[in-house]
Assembly symmetry: C2
Homo-oligomer: 358 residues x 2
């Protein structure tokens, strides 16, 4: 499929969480219907989708039926098994492509790819046993952080190493999984670029936002980020280089550390990204619609920023603050329809619009 998808077409989304939910809403604005594929019952995205399939990611028959019912497949969840992706791709295009998924699913592959492009990352080493970890610590030094190479998400599967004595406990925390040791970066702050690439190869980036984390989870994203004009240009060029190298189609989140030695790539995510939720309040076309436009083969939309915005995540019991938030001026509330409140669970977010720009 290289022709633009026509209104009335169906978009398949792997994963039914809040990202799938907001993608489905954006797709509806362009006249598309969405079919959500999600193993868990009663997914948030199902409240605003035309169709839901509830089945495991390993159920090839369900995946094939799903693929046959849609025109193009995208995802909010990146850890779909390879055999399942093979089955889907035999029937319909998957966007962003498999290479983007493969690179971002595995931390070492990601860093090898990024450094291969001439981009800066934290110093890193693959670690498969305690001896390798100790060797890597000698080269990289402490403090450092040990992470499983796969399935990392919101600070899970990570262990800090403050001195070499922490090594055995850190390795134990990996539970035998392959890991990567990353050196600490002395950065002043973190920014992220939400970048999009269309089927025609055109690239558009949103203005970078500045991220603050709490307990390993994104807390706020503030627009504009503190960046010099030169850093702002660098940030966009880095993102564009990554997208072009992957022949990427869709929206990607690129997290960057700001250091005196330049911008260092922390992580890339081949999907709409939490740090891009502010675009719902500050742009004519938000990151969700931009992603849908890209994977549908439409021209990328106008993502220029017309307001200063602070996005704040509502984590766990933060959602109890909604009655008060609903009385605040300039405050856009987005709740995800999750019935159970759990510690660390993303329940919603608010976008505070600070002022309009002329």
């Amino acid at each position: 499929m290289t022709e633009p998808l026509r209104p009335g077409a169906t978009i398949g989304i792997l994963g039914g969480g809040q990202l799938g939910r907001m993608l489905s809403v954006a797709a509806s604005r362009l006249g598309f219907q969405c079919h959500i594929y999600e193993p868990g019952a009663a997914p948030p995205a199902g409240h605003v989708a035309a169709q839901v399939t509830t089945a495991p990611y390993e159920d090839l028959a369900a995946l094939r039926a799903f693929a046959q019912s849609v025109d193009v497949i995208t995802y909010e969840f990146e850890n779909v098994p390879t055999a399942s992706l093979d089955a889907l791709e035999a029937l319909r295009p998957i966007r962003p492509n498999r290479r983007a998924l493969a690179v971002s699913q595995e931390r070492v592959a990601e860093k090898d790819f990024l450094t291969g492009l001439g981009l800066q990352t934290a110093p890193y080493a693959r670690v498969t046993d305690l001896a390798a970890l100790e060797q890597a610590l000698e080269r990289i030094g402490t403090p450092a952080i040990l992470k499983t190479t796969r399935l990392g998400y919101d600070g899970k599967g990570q262990a800090r190493i403050m001195t070499s004595e922490d090594a055995p406990a850190a390795w134990e925390a990996m539970a035998g999984a392959e890991a990567v040791l990353e050196g600490f970066i002395d950065f002043s702050h973190e920014v992220s670029v939400i970048a999009a690439r269309g089927l025609d190869g055109s690239v558009a980036c949103y203005d970078p936002g500045e991220n603050v984390h709490r307990a390993g989870i994104l807390h706020t994203t503030t627009l504009p980020a503190r960046l010099s004009p030169g850093q702002r240009t660098d940030a966009v060029l880095i993102a564009a280089r990554i997208l072009n190298a992957l022949d990427y189609v869709g929206v990607m989140g690129v997290e960057l550390f700001v250091t005196p030695q330049g911008l260092i790539v922390n992580e890339i995510a081949p999907r709409v990204h939490n740090s891009g939720h502010w675009t719902q309040a500050g742009c004519a076309v938000d990151q969700f619609e931009q992603h849908i436009r890209a994977i549908a083969g439409w021209p990328l939309g106008d993502g220029s920023r017309y307001a200063d915005v602070v996005m704040e995540n509502l984590i766990g019991s933060d959602v109890d603050r909604v009655p008060g938030l609903s009385r605040e001026r300039n405050c856009q509330i987005h709740l995800y329809g999750k019935s159970e409140v759990k510690q660390g669970r993303k329940m919603g977010h608010v976008n505070r619009v600070i002022r309009g720009l002329t």
Copy 2:
């Protein structure tokens, strides 16, 4: 129910067209689920709703099951039979209330209500036969317009009377239905106020927009409207008086003619309104979310305008312009997911954001 509805609650919507569709999307942002009740198959709102009931408005059993599955009932369609409303209201609150529906369903009742509040309307007379029409024409003069008192929508069931000789043909066009004769108003332009009233009696109005019609259907709404500061205040006061008098809860569209003798009320609609679609591009909280907030007993949201906007409807084959529109800057596209293009059918709209306001 006077307590605010909690996230997770279900809102029932009578009517599954584009208004129901955009209401359902807005409800999802606040963590609500929607259940759509619509006689027609495959309603546009069903693509973004948790549940759909397909049944006629006369099916009391289906209506009761629908009511029992929701926490509050609202509507995008105003011509639901009285017996059906009785059945629904016995089980769940209907917001806006029955009085607002009764007044707006019948043109003479509406004008009696408005003039009873001391507001100006076009001169009008109830017409039940040709003799009454001729008598009314003597008093009101020509040109005038004859309309059925019920079920009027987008210029249907209307006949213009340029001279008294047109009277018999105009009366025939009513097909025996009760009608109202309205005198022409010499107005410079039409504006509309999208007004909201909360369960606590608070009122909030969006900035008035200026409407241009084509062939009896809204073509564009432009913000800001051409109004003097005094007219702007009058417009808001008129809307607030109407909402308070009806003990209204929800969003209402109030169409006003601008004349040298002041603002004249053309029509009121007890629901979100086509001339309020611009709020999706110019306000932190749009008319759809404002309506959901009101009927859910939440505080009204911040509807202050931060951009100049022109909303343009895509009627019938206008939708073929979407590929070109998708390349325009500052252009927000909203398609309704209707599969069949028909002449005069509202297929979507675009909001063009002209500039940000500080």
